[in-house]
């Protein structure tokens, strides 16, 4: 074995060990990728490691926004999800939702902010697109008996956005493909019809499909739903709403039961209630409840 051949395993080890450990050192590793010849052994190793360490957290806010826009477009293109034209309900839901997002420091502020829309369907469902476009169905709104309960549903959805649960549905393989192109020098010079742009559009398509598939069909994990319930309850309390309102909506959903929509994609309501079994301190304010009750009735009247 000559001297150079003996050096190869040692050099490989010198590269591989730090690179595998340095999963959090994003800036430096990105800089290294740019500094190496992509066809060299060093370049290939660094690029490969970078692909592996990327996660949905590495998508930037505007990228989340553009993924979310297309997720939302896919949803409203579904024949069962027509948008409600009831402006009074829409205005009301937006004020409740924005009230929560703007009074909680823990809510992640997204690229273009939060927007709420109502789906004209009896299906019991709510859908949070990455980036902050949130749909709530008339069927689910009809289960809410108060503004606090509407707020509870929206707070849960805002928590999904804050916690990036939608983006986290993008398969690792699609993320790895995406990061082959995102930020690459090749795309930098890309024209509208360049091959790299078309490849990125394909990865974009695959990523959107992953998110929509989870939102509509398979649902998020039980852990993600529990996390959104817990954070949602914190956001409720942060805005001044009754934090027990989420448990009350879940209890009602459990009593009534149903099929499809949330019933198909979420854990059983009674299981979710169990996650929220510990009480959170709350001082009732009859005057506030009366004010909210009046405007809730006005917005929801048939």
């Amino acid at each position: 074995m000559n001297a150079i051949a003996r050096r190869v395993p040692l050099t490989l080890a010198l590269f591989a060990a730090p690179l595998l450990i340095l999963v959090a050192c994003a800036g430096m590793l990105d800089a290294l990728e740019g500094a190496t010849d992509p066809d060299s052994a060093e370049g290939k190793l660094i690029r490969g490691t970078n692909r592996l360490r990327k996660s949905a957290q590495d998508l930037d806010p505007s990228e989340e926004h553009y993924i979310g826009r297309t997720v939302a477009a896919q949803i409203v293109a579904m024949p069962q999800y027509k948008l409600s034209t009831d402006q009074a309900v829409l205005d009301y839901v937006n004020r409740v939702g924005l009230g929560i997002s703007m009074t909680n420091d823990g809510v992640r502020q997204t690229f273009a902010g939060y927007h709420f829309a109502v789906l004209d369907t009896d299906e019991v469902n709510a859908l949070a697109c990455p980036g902050g476009t949130i749909f709530i169905s008339k069927g689910l709104l009809s289960k809410a008996a108060s503004e606090d309960e509407v707020a509870a549903i929206l707070a849960h959805e805002i928590a999904h956005v804050t916690l990036r649960h939608g983006l986290n549905q993008i398969k690792k393989s699609n993320l790895a493909s995406a990061f082959q192109y995102l930020g690459s020098g090749a795309l930098q010079a890309a024209g509208t019809n360049s091959e790299d742009l078309q490849k990125l559009a394909t990865v974009f398509d695959d990523s959107v499909k992953d998110v929509v598939g989870a939102m509509i069909t398979s649902g998020y994990s039980r852990e993600a739903e529990e996390e959104a319930d817990r954070s949602g309850r914190e956001f409720l309390a942060g805005a001044g709403y009754d934090p027990q309102a989420l448990s009350r909506v879940l209890a009602k959903m459990g009593e009534v039961g149903g099929e499809g929509g949330m019933f198909a994609t979420h854990p059983a309501p009674k299981d979710r209630q169990a996650t929220l079994s510990t009480k959170v301190a709350f001082t009732p304010d009859p005057q506030g409840e009366a004010a909210r009750s009046t405007r809730f009735a006005a917005a929801m009247k048939p």
Binding site: L22, G27, A31, L32, S62, A73, R95, T192, L200, G288
Partner: protein, 169 residues
């Protein structure tokens, strides 16, 4: 064949960097605004009055951090304006990918390059060209995202429901 000693050194430097902690937000750090538009606020809360309007790509300098709020200085026309920015509105990430939407004319070449490197309007257009049947759906999404409720209206709504008081804001 591995011959690049400088690359080895850089890798080692990255390791040292990690050990030292690489994501500090200390005074003097430069941050890039990642929200399409936002306000630099007089106090550290979202309903506080704005002292300046910021746009995606604007650069600010960190003064201090308090919970989820960053006190930052923005320089505009030679004048330094200091205010509060929510931590999710900006990043210290040097290679952040921007959308290029709503950015200022003074946008530098490097920032413009960053705008071309992510999932951005260009990618959405390429996707839409392949899926023309979604045009009507995108128009609906445009309408949803064009909805704006003035902050003052949201604040009034909260006060009327005796909520803002509960939140202590």
């Amino acid at each position: 064949m591995f011959k690049s000693l400088p690359i080895l050194c850089l890798t080692a430097a990255a390791y040292v960097c990690l050990a030292a902690g690489t994501t500090p937000q200390s005074q003097g750090d430069t941050l890039t605004v990642t929200k399409k538009t936002t306000k630099l606020r007089a106090q550290k809360k979202l309903f506080a009055p704005g002292v300046a309007d910021l746009k995606e790509g604007d650069r600010v300098t960190l003064v201090s951090k308090d919970g989820a709020w960053l006190s930052v200085t923005w320089t505009s026309n030679g004048k330094n304006i200091t205010g509060w920015l929510h931590e999710s509105d900006a990043t210290t990430k040097k290679d952040v990918r921007l959308s290029g939407q709503g950015v200022r004319e003074k946008y530098s070449v490097s920032e413009a390059e960053a705008a071309r490197k992510g999932f951005n309007p260009q990618v959405e257009k390429a996707y839409r060209d392949r899926n023309p049947s979604l045009d009507a759906a995108y128009q609906i999404v445009d309408r949803i995202q064009a909805q704006t409720v003035p902050e003052a209206d949201v604040e009034r709504f909260l006060r009327e429901g005796r909520l803002l008081k509960e939140a202590g804001r």
